[in-house]
Every structure is written in C-alpha cells, then in structure tokens.
C-alpha cells in the first residue's frame, strides 16, 4: 500500500457532523410538513385575531385573548408527541438489526448508534426552539399574551372544600415561572430517549410502544377503580410532565363549580421528574446501544 490513509479510521468529529447532516436529511420531509402545519396554524391565528370579517365568524366576534404558556397543555404534549415520533424518522431506512448502512461503516457500533441518537436530539431541540420562537412571535402578532398572571385556587382538602370548610382551599398568586418555558424541552428529551431506546432495543418498536401504552392504561385503570392513591398521584405527575391536563380540575364549592388545583408545580418537582425520566431514557439508550446489531 502506498497511501498511508488506507485502512485509517475516520475522525469522530467528521462522523458526528455527517450524522447531523444525514439525520437532518432523513427528517426533512417530516420537518417540512410540521413547519407547514405550524405556518398555516399561525396564519389562521393571526388572521382570526386581526381581520374583523374572520373575527365575526368565531364566537360572534369575541375571539378572546390568546394566552401562550409553553408549560401548560397542549404545548408540552405536542413537543412530547413530536419527540416520540422523531426516532422513526431518524432511523428511517436503517436496517437496525441488519448489516448496512450504519453498521458496515468503520465506527464502533455502540458509539455510532449513540452518535445518531445524539444527532436526532440536537435536531429535536432545534425544531422545538424554532417552533417556540415561531409560536411566540405569532402570539405577539395576534395580540395574545405570553405566560399567565393569575390567582389560582389550591385545593388542600377536597372534601372540606366541597363542604365549605375554612382552610380547605387557598388562593395563590401565580405567575408563569421561567422554568415552565424549559419544560417542553426536558419532557421532549425524555420522550425522545425512551422512544430511541425502543428503536435500538427492539425490532418492532411500535408494537412495544403500544404494549407500554396498554400497560400504562391498565395501571391507570387499576389505580382509579381501586382508588390506589400512590398510583393516581404518580399517573398525575407523569401526565403533567408529558404536557397533559393534570393538576387542575373542576371542584364543587358551596358557591358552585370552579377550577381548582390539586398541586401547583414547582421547579423542584420539574427538576426531579426531569432527572428521573431523562435518567431512565439515558440508561435505556446506553443499554440498548450495547445490543448486537446482528445476531
């Protein structure tokens, strides 16, 4: 051999950049569709908020003020949904348990798998960041407001609240905290890692995802039917973390029905749940990346 580069390994920096490019190319169609949906939604929002003829169509002209709080439903849920689906696009065309294309290249299989997962995560964060900025600008353009500044009714004792017992409820002044702007990113990260674990560990990830979904529903059903408190509380925490409607609900007070909160999320709760779920996702991905690609 005269060429000293023959048989040489590629630089990891080059592999990383290439994986960023390849994953970007793999997800571009899905990204374009999401961008189109976002653009059309934004256009509709601004149009209905600003054009009187359209305003008249909706709610007899009372469009109301559009409030955007990324830490509350449905925004976090959209981010989690995107994160759960993204690995399908990231690994599109890859024979995850075959020979090529990824596994026949001169990079350690485990490292290569992790680089691809990481590249997908970078794109996920970029997409969410862009979407967040886009929605923020749209809300501002439509005359809406960012975040909430309100008084929330905290239900300390539900039975006492219904009976009008003093001290069973508490009014709490609530302003959207800064960390709620970060919640879609952390919950999406956890969801992406869990979905990537299924992609790396199983030949039929959708089958396993459906199985997990059914198992979760069964646990939820058991918790509700037998009124098992710890299950209900944990399901509530998970539901909140993935951007679902969770802690607020209608409560019967002597004065009538009103919206109350069983728990006001805190930064400590967000940090703890993020640590747990991202930790679970990381352990899953690291473990799944060890699985031989070809038995």
């Amino acid at each position: 051999m005269t060429d000293s580069t023959v048989g040489r390994m590629p630089a990891m920096k080059d592999v990383w950049i290439e994986q960023l490019c390849v994953v970007g190319l793999a997800i571009r169609r899905e990204g374009a569709l999401a961008a189109l949906a976002l653009a059309l939604g934004s256009l509709a929002l601004v149009a209905f908020a600003r054009i009187p003829v359209l305003q008249a169509i909706v709610d007899e002209g009372d469009v109301g003020e559009f409030v955007f709080n990324p830490g509350e439903p449905p925004w976090g849920f959209f981010a989690v949904l995107a994160a759960l689906l993204l690995p399908l696009a990231v690994w599109k065309g890859e024979r995850r348990f075959g020979d090529t294309p990824l596994w026949s290249l001169p990079v350690d299989h485990r490292r290569h798998a992790l680089l691809k997962v990481a590249a997908g995560w970078v794109w996920l964060m970029a997409i969410l960041g862009t979407a967040l900025v886009w929605v923020t600008l749209t809300v501002l353009a439509s005359g809406g407001v960012l975040g909430v500044d309100e008084v929330r009714l905290l239900i300390i004792d539900p039975a006492g609240a219904a009976a009008g017992t003093p001290g069973a409820t508490e009014s709490v002044s609530w302003t959207t905290p800064w960390w709620e702007w970060a919640t879609p990113f952390t919950s999406a990260t956890a969801a992406y890692l869990v979905a990537s674990t299924l992609m790396l560990a199983t030949a039929r990830p959708l089958f396993w995802a459906a199985g997990l979904w059914v198992a979760g529903a069964v646990v939820l059903g058991v918790g509700e039917v037998w009124e098992i408190g710890w299950i209900e509380r944990n399901i509530e925490l998970v539901a909140w973390y993935v951007g679902g409607d969770s802690f607020n609900r209608g409560v019967q007070l002597p004065t009538g029905w009103t919206e109350g909160w069983t728990l006001l999320p805190t930064m400590k709760l967000w940090t703890a749940l993020s640590a747990i779920w991202i930790g679970v996702g990381l352990v899953g991905v690291l473990g799944a990346s060890r699985r031989p690609r070809n038995q």
Binding site: D3, M9, G93, R95, V107
Partner: protein, 313 residues
C-alpha cells in the same frame, strides 16, 4: 451409474502471510451450525473464491469477518486484527459488498451516498469514484430506492472499491448483474487489482462468473471447508479420467478416498480424482482400466464435483 464420495483435499495453505485467517470458527443459529469449525486461510494479495451452495455459511463467514456477526468459538484474524474486538478498525480496511443488494438509505440520492461513504473513509479516491460511476452509468441524482437490483449492486461495488481498501469482501457481487455489466465488473476488478494491492474474497455459488479472476479456491459446505488450495494446484491435481473397464470392474482400492466423483456407463467410467496424474493413471491401469483421456476441470466444474460429493456423502 453415479456414485460420489468425499475426497480429502488440502486445507492448509502453508505459513502465509495471510490477510485473513480463522481457526475452528463456530457460529450457530439455534440448532444449526452455520460455521462448524472453519479454518480459513486467505493469502495476502490473493483472489480467493469461496464456493458453496445456498446455506453453506458463506455469508455468515463474510459477515463474521466484517465484525457484523458474533462467533461462539475459534479465532478470527482480519488484516492482523480480531473483528470481534476491533471491528471498526477492521471495517476501515475492507470494501464490502453485502448479500443484501439494497444500497444505502432508500431516501438518499446516489451522489449523497457516495459523499457519505467518503466521510467514513479518509482514503476515499473521489476521482476514482467518479470514473467508476461513469463506467457503470450511475445517475448520481437517482434516489437509492428507485434503483434496480443490478443498479444497486453497481453502486455497492463503487462504494466498496473507491476507498481502495486492502481487503475486498464481495458477497455474491455479480448477483443481479446482466452479462454486459458482469463483464464490465470483472474488467473493473481486474484493473483495480492491477492498480492497488488488494486481497479479495468473493463468495459465490456461480463460480463461472468470476473464474477469470480467481487464484485461490475454498469449497464450503454445511459450515465446513472441504478444501482450500491455489487454483493451479486444483487445476493440476483434480482431474477427470475417462477409461474403458471390464464388466464388473470395481476400481483400485488405493484411490478410494481420493475419488471425488464417479459416473459413466457399465464399461466406460468417468472419474474425478484428486491426486498426482501419473500415479492415478498408473493405479487405474494396474486395476485393469484403459485410460482414454485425462482433462483438468474448471474451477466451476471442480466445485460442482466436490459439492456433489459432499451432498451425497
């Protein structure tokens, strides 16, 4: 009358140097032993054809050499490294055409796929890749999922050759190619071998398609090598003998284990025998046979004879 027995062909190619060796290599899939104590020796710079029927273990062996399949027992050495431990380093020195003809990512264009491959191989020769692409008439704008089987194979060959690896592992490389493209591929491989110091392992069950290139032969059946030897040795020692024999003739006992294939009518035999030509002719004559003609076999004919014997034994 056709009767076949297994001949004892040589397995040991001497002391090397070898680009690839395996010793006692075992790989099972459930209860099936895909590789059953395989001792492979591929000399450096050789064009080694691995012949065997479907399911003989050829693809499993090549994927094991690539570090894509784990093995259960034995040793493997590819370019001085064990692919189970240093798979990435081994793959850096290999140009691989897999059995699966799907090239790259279905959604990727051929041009982008070539760029992708170039990133992973610092030795990528872009000009050579362009020339190969032109010779194969590959449109770089085509998406991989729109390529036919033959077109995909051509792309895979470009990907395997353009970084000028010291070792080529080609698993059924002519599968899906029409006659014209197959000849072009052989021509490209010949030129490549003239330009670059390369060891080639070709797995195929259609030896006649690659026969002009081959200088070493390994015959594989049921995960075992029936023999591996230089082509000239095969050509000189595995011969077909036509002879007239008396009624009820049974043949010399001393040839027993070296007869690869027996066929012919009652008084005219056609035997394929491994051994020194003069000694075999003398043995047949002393046993009462009148040898009419002796001819060497092509690699393809030799493989068929050896594999037929194995299957019948």
């Amino acid at each position: 009358m056709t009767d076949m027995v297994t001949a004892a062909l040589p397995i040991d190619l001497g002391s090397g140097p070898f680009a690839v060796t395996t010793q006692g290599l075992v790989r099972r899939f459930g209860s099936v032993r895909a590789l059953d104590g395989l001792d492979l020796q591929v000399p450096e710079g050789a064009v080694y054809v691995l012949v065997g029927p479907n399911g003989a273990g050829k693809s499993t062996l090549i994927r094991t050499l690539m570090g894509l399949v784990r093995y259960e027992a034995g040793t493997v050495n590819v370019l001085g490294r064990n692919p189970a431990d240093l798979g990435a380093e081994v793959r850096a020195g290999i140009g691989y055409v897999p059995e699966d003809y799907r090239a790259g990512y279905p959604w990727m264009t051929v041009g982008r796929l070539l760029e992708h491959q170039a990133v992973y191989h610092p030795s990528w020769d872009a000009e050579y890749a362009r020339r190969l692409r032109a010779r194969y008439e590959i449109d770089p704008g085509r998406r991989c999922h729109t390529l036919s089987k033959g077109q995909s194979r051509r792309v895979q060959l470009v990907l395997a050759l353009a970084h000028r690896p010291p070792l080529l592992l080609l698993d059924e490389p002519t599968d899906g190619l029409d006659h014209v493209v197959r000849d072009e591929t052989l021509s490209i491989l010949s030129e490549h071998l003239a330009d670059s110091t390369t060891t080639v392992v070709i797995s195929t069950h259609r030896v006649y398609e690659v026969e002009p290139l081959v200088d070493h032969v390994g015959v594989l059946a049921a995960g075992r090598l029936l023999g591996q030897l230089p082509r000239h040795e095969l050509h000189g020692s595995l011969l077909r003998y036509w002879a007239d024999v008396p009624e009820g003739w049974r043949g010399p006992k001393e040839l027993g284990g070296r007869v690869v294939q027996r066929s012919g009518a009652a008084r005219a035999i056609e035997w394929t025998v491994w051994g020194d030509r003069d000694a075999v002719t003398r043995g047949l004559s002393q046993a009462g046979a009148a040898v009419r003609e002796v001819a060497p076999l092509s690699v393809d004919e030799a493989a068929v004879a050896l594999l037929s014997g194995k299957e019948a034994s």
